[in-house]
């Protein structure tokens, strides 16, 4: 599997670290503990397209938002997380 890093081009997935679903957003500081529970622990875990965080640890060190289908592993998009508009 190769990930099209916007900085580095197509790179082997073994250069990246994975951190799952990019959808959950860290709650505001004053949010209840339950909101942090949902953020940290609960996942949609879809069978199909998912936008997820990959970290180019052995490359540019950018966190990416990669859109990938969990049934086929097909990657349709990759963006820099810092610039990614949810």
């Amino acid at each position: 599997m190769r990930i099209p890093c916007p900085y580095c081009g197509n790179r082997d997935s073994s250069e990246f670290s994975y951190r799952s679903d990019a959808a959950p957003v860290r709650p505001a500081a004053d949010a209840p503990v339950a909101a942090f529970h949902d953020y940290v622990y609960l996942r949609d875990n879809p069978a199909g397209p998912i936008s997820e965080h990959w970290y180019h640890a052995a490359g540019c060190r950018a966190w990416l938002v990669v859109t990938r289908d969990t049934r086929t592993h097909e990657i349709s998009a990759a963006a820099i997380a810092q610039e990614f508009v949810r």
């Binding site: 503990v33 909101a35 953020y39 640890a57 097909e74």
Partner: protein, 984 residues
């Protein structure tokens, strides 16, 4: 000898000596072990897995189920090698497997007598009673009998290589279709890789007598190969098996570079290729199907196409008097090949009533051509005769020692289902074909069901053109080759009824027609259940000759069509691949890289003993002559630090620069305590949590400028913390204006510790003010040393006055030397990780065993550090009741009640009285050491509600090692609890 007098693609000028089961034989360059055995009249080559039946060669290719041998001796022995794809070399030693004491006389062939028990699923329904017998008697016996060849038990002496390949078009298989595809794409300028499992390009052309443009098959293939070799954009990989398809158009392949031992392992034996191909064409050909009839496994029964290969390519006749049993037109071709080679052909038996065109010629040559007939039975230990049954029911016995069989063709499409698409049945071709191919891949030629040569050539060329077009190049004109338009008629025949002997479907695993019927009766009616219950297709050949026949029989037994019954998906690898090749260079001592610090050589020269810390190698201690054991050395080092001065290489700690207007804000969110208030030139101890409230790491933060911070991490967590910080600033708070970079490898850092540490530093850094007013405890300076940036931190892990000095890594060794030299008048010692650990336990500092991913800040006794004034990662979830529970095991110190008792880390702690019960478990010892300062063992432990129980006694629970004794709970700070020494 059965070597034909002329012909074949062997080099008769280069004879090769080899042995099989200790007997010497001779073959020629160009032979496989199998063809050389055929040429030497060796008919018995192996024993089957379960019944240990006598087996001869069935095929001439990678699909071979029977001719499985061990090649080589000692550490070079390679078990389970297919004789059909083992290229003969001088001195090859091959031995048969799965027999005892010998291939001809195999004691375990008595299993056949018990065949009524050993049917499908026999393990599960038998061997159970009485209870203990399975493990004590049956299973050990089954294990001993199981397995094929043996591993030597010694390290693989060969080396293996890895290579990445990139191409526009990967052609998988160098037969006629593959050569055509590669030629078209190569001429059009595509970067082409042509991988061919065989050592020689040509595929079926090497085995047959077809002609293309007036050339023989091998001549034509040779000419195409020559043209391809001349093209700079084409890479030809012979002896290279493409074994699997992976995501992102990646193909795994293994190239056999040297089959025979190369002196000293100078050349790799095999090379793993990982090929990125924009387009791929699968031209791996097709595998001929056996026919299922009684006694179809007797040595002498062979695939018709294999007979053609042995006769035409290797000039070796697999028998003296032959018959062919075929349901395909191609089987008649093999018959013609035998006649052309001068082998006595007694009969061709074809169940189809109408014989194909070729029959007439054979009849004229005196061959009995029997239409509407079948072979019902075979006779002899090795084949001696067959019984043929005619359409009218009459039978006839024909004396033959070779029977060619042809039941149709299965395209070699295994890798096409690697990504999860199941092949589909084609009624028209009576075979399974690719349905949904992996992205960028298409099949061509026989692999796509184009079984005729002319058809395959056209299809291969079309595939090449399609690849060129798909990549946006100008569509080339297809080349035209003239070759025979073959008859490719076939009528599947799945089973011949009426025979008495067993009829085999899976030859290696001894799965018979009856086994499949039995599985169906027991409800194992899906192809997946059939596979698992009968082990059909699970032998080393992965069912290449058996799968489709088995599924057809299952369909018949369950009243379904073959299309409904379906087939399984092939898993990689397509053919077995050496595990050594998949590991490449990463083995034994080279398994993972070694990271060495700048002063490593210095430590080596000082006689250091090293320890692995992740990938780093760190000095563990520096033994002196006369010291009896490591503990003596380590105590001496610790005492030297506490009483004088020592130096320790701490360069492996993670180091991170965090810069920017929002740097302080980011650090406040990363650490449980506040960092934004840190004054310039000051360091502060900090703890980071994961978002779930568990401690991620600890270290110091130093502020060198208003927007410039420097962090240290533990050695183990350096990469993890860097990733964590990047996540926080890039993903959670992208709006913050802050940068972070790892500088772990840029700085070399040395701890100089002990009451005389300042004296040593004054000698080395004479310009630097080291007065306590200028550099107090937790102070830091930037300065220059030898013209380069340097940093000094007044921090301490040992609890003594101590400094950490950092210089660019290139100066690391020089600094270590300078510090040591300057320290000699003060009796400086180098100390390693063990003395470091000893001293940090004496001070009650948490380290790796305490930061184990299961402990919170409160568990470590650091709960009060958690700021209540700000949000930080891990704050919210720390408030959960399970995290705030005071009953959680919390860090305390332990000392033995009897001063001579040892406190082993890993021991649990129980109440002082009563029988140990799980429910009463009070905690456990995380770190322990003998304390030279106190003269007895001490420990850091996690105890339920520990800090409120100081003075209470607990009992060691360590039945694993037999340690016993009572301990008393105490403060974890054993040495200098007031912290006066650290301040000088």
């Amino acid at each position: 000898m059965s070597r034909l007098a002329k012909g074949g693609l062997i080099d008769r000028g280069r004879p090769l000596g080899f042995t099989f089961d200790g007997r010497a034989y001779q073959g020629f360059e160009g032979d496989t072990l199998a063809s050389a055995l055929v040429a030497n009249d060796v008919r018995l080559v192996g024993r089957s897995f379960k019944y240990h039946r006598r087996r001869g060669l069935l095929t001439a290719g990678g699909e071979e189920p029977n001719g499985i041998v061990t090649i080589g001796a000692g550490a070079y022995a390679e078990p389970n090698t297919r004789a059909t794809t083992a290229w003969l070399h001088e001195g090859m030693e091959a031995v048969s497997q799965n027999r005892w004491p010998s291939l001809a006389l195999d004691v375990l062939s008595v299993n056949q007598l018990f065949a009524p028990i050993f049917v499908a699923g026999f393990y599960y329904k038998t061997f159970m009673w009485p209870k203990s017998f399975w493990e004590k008697l049956y299973e050990p016996a089954i294990r001993r009998a199981a397995g094929l060849g043996a591993l030597s038990g010694r390290p693989d002496p060969d080396s293996y290589d890895r290579m990445h390949g990139f191409c526009d078009l990967l052609v998988i298989g160098g037969g006629p279709a593959g050569l055509a595809a590669a030629l078209v794409a190569g001429r059009a300028g595509l970067r082409v890789i042509l991988a061919n499992e065989d050592a020689r390009f040509g595929g079926r052309l090497l085995s047959e007598r077809q002609r293309i443009d007036g050339q023989s098959g091998p001549e034509w293939a040779g000419a195409v190969e020559e043209e391809l070799r001349a093209l700079p954009n084409v890479t030809l990989l012979a002896r290279t098996l493409v074994f699997g398809v992976y995501d992102g158009c990646e193909y795994g392949a293994v190239e056999r570079l040297a089959d025979q031992p190369v002196a000293g392992g100078a050349k790799p034996r095999q090379r793993l290729w990982k090929i990125e191909a924009r387009q791929a064409v699968l031209t791996a050909g097709a595998i001929e199907r056996p026919l299922v009839f009684a006694g179809n496994d007797r040595p002498g029964v062979m695939m018709a196409s294999a007979i053609s290969t042995y006769v035409n390519r290797f000039a070796a006749a697999p028998g003296r008097r032959a018959a062919i049993f075929t349901t395909t037109d191609s089987g008649w071709q093999a018959a013609a090949d035998l006649v052309a080679a001068g082998v006595d052909l007694a009969a061709v038996i074809d169940p189809r009533p109408d014989l194909p065109a070729g029959a007439e010629t054979l009849m004229r040559a005196g061959v009995d051509c029997l239409g509407g007939a079948m072979v019902r039975e075979t006779h002899g230990r090795n084949l001696k005769a067959i019984t043929v049954v005619r359409a009218d029911g009459r039978t006839r016995r024909i004396e033959v020692d070779l029977l060619g069989v042809s039941g149709g063709w299965n395209p070699s499409i295994g890798i096409a289902s690697n990504l999860g698409a199941r092949p589909v049945w084609s009624d028209a071709l009576a075979t399974f074909l690719i349905d949904r191919a992996p992205p960028g891949l298409r099949a061509a030629g026989a692999a796509a069901g184009r079984f005729g040569l002319a058809d395959a050539l056209r299809d291969g060329a079309d595939a090449g053109i399609a690849a060129v077009t798909a990549l946006g190049r100008t569509t080339p004109t297809p080349p035209v080759w003239r070759s025979t338009e073959e008859d490719t008629g076939a009528a599947p025949l799945w089973h011949v009824p009426g025979g008495k002997a067993k009829a085999f479907v899976d030859f290696q695993h001894d799965v018979t027609d009856a086994d499949i019927g039995l599985a169906a009766r027991e409800g194992f009616v899906s192809v997946e259940h059939l596979k698992r219950y009968t082990t059909l297709g699970m032998a080393t050949d992965q069912g290449k000759t058996s799968q489709v026949n088995g599924h057809a029989l299952l369909a018949a037994a369950t009243g379904k069509s073959i299309a409904q019954a379906g087939t399984i998906m092939a898993r990689p690898p397509y053919l077995p691949v050496a595990i050594g090749a998949l590991a490449g260079h990463h083995r034994e001592a080279d398994y993972r890289p070694v990271r060495l610090t700048a002063a490593h050589d210095w430590a080596v020269a000082r006689g250091a003993t090293f320890v692995d810390a992740g990938l780093w190698r760190r000095p563990r201690w520096f033994a002196r002559p006369g010291e009896h054991d490591w503990s003596e050395t380590v105590r001496r080092e610790a005492v030297a630090v506490r009483s004088g001065v020592g130096v320790c290489d701490v360069s492996t700690l993670g180091k991170i620069e965090v810069h920017g207007p929002d740097a302080g804000l980011l650090l406040d969110r990363l650490y449980i305590n506040t960092m934004s208030t840190l004054p310039l030139g000051k360091a502060r101890y900090g703890v980071m949590l994961r978002e779930d409230g568990i401690v991620l790491d600890d270290g110091t933060v130093t502020r060198f400028g208003p927007e410039r911070f420097y962090l240290t991490t533990t050695t183990a967590n350096a990469a993890k913390v860097m990733q964590h910080i990047d996540f926080a600033r890039q993903v959670i708070w992208p709006e913050l204006d802050v940068q972070a970079a790892s500088v772990s490898e840029q700085w070399s850092t040395y701890a100089v510790a002990g009451p005389r540490s300042r004296d040593v530093l004054r000698t080395v850094f004479s310009d630097l003010s080291l007065d306590d007013s200028a550099l107090p405890f937790m102070g830091a300076h930037e300065f220059r040393w030898q013209g380069k940036a340097a940093r000094i931190f007044r921090v301490s892990f040992s609890g003594e006055r101590a400094y950490e000095v950092a210089v660019p890594a290139l100066l690391g060794k020089a600094l270590m030397e300078a510090l040591f030299e300057a320290g000699l008048p003060y009796g400086i010692v180098p100390y390693g990780t063990e003395a470091q650990t000893l001293m940090r336990i004496e001070k009650g500092h948490a380290a790796g065993p305490e930061l184990n991913g299961q402990t919170s800040a409160a568990d470590l006794g650091l709960g009060r550090m958690m700021s209540k004034k700000k949000d930080f990662i891990g704050r919210a979830l720390s408030e959960r009741p399970g995290m705030a529970d005071p009953d959680r095991p919390t860090l305390v110190g332990l000392k033995p009640v009897r001063s001579t008792d040892r406190l082993p880390a890993g021991a649990h702690l129980m109440p002082e009285f009563g029988t140990p019960r799980a429910a009463d478990d009070q905690g456990w010892i995380s770190s322990s050491t003998f304390s030279p300062s106190l003269g007895h063992w001490i420990a850091i432990a996690f105890v339920r509600n520990g800090p409120t129980r100081i003075g209470e006694r607990l009992r060691l629970y360590d039945p694993l090692r037999g340690a016993e004794g009572l301990v008393e709970i105490c403060s974890p700070v054993f040495v200098d609890p007031e912290g006066s020494r650290v301040r000088g």
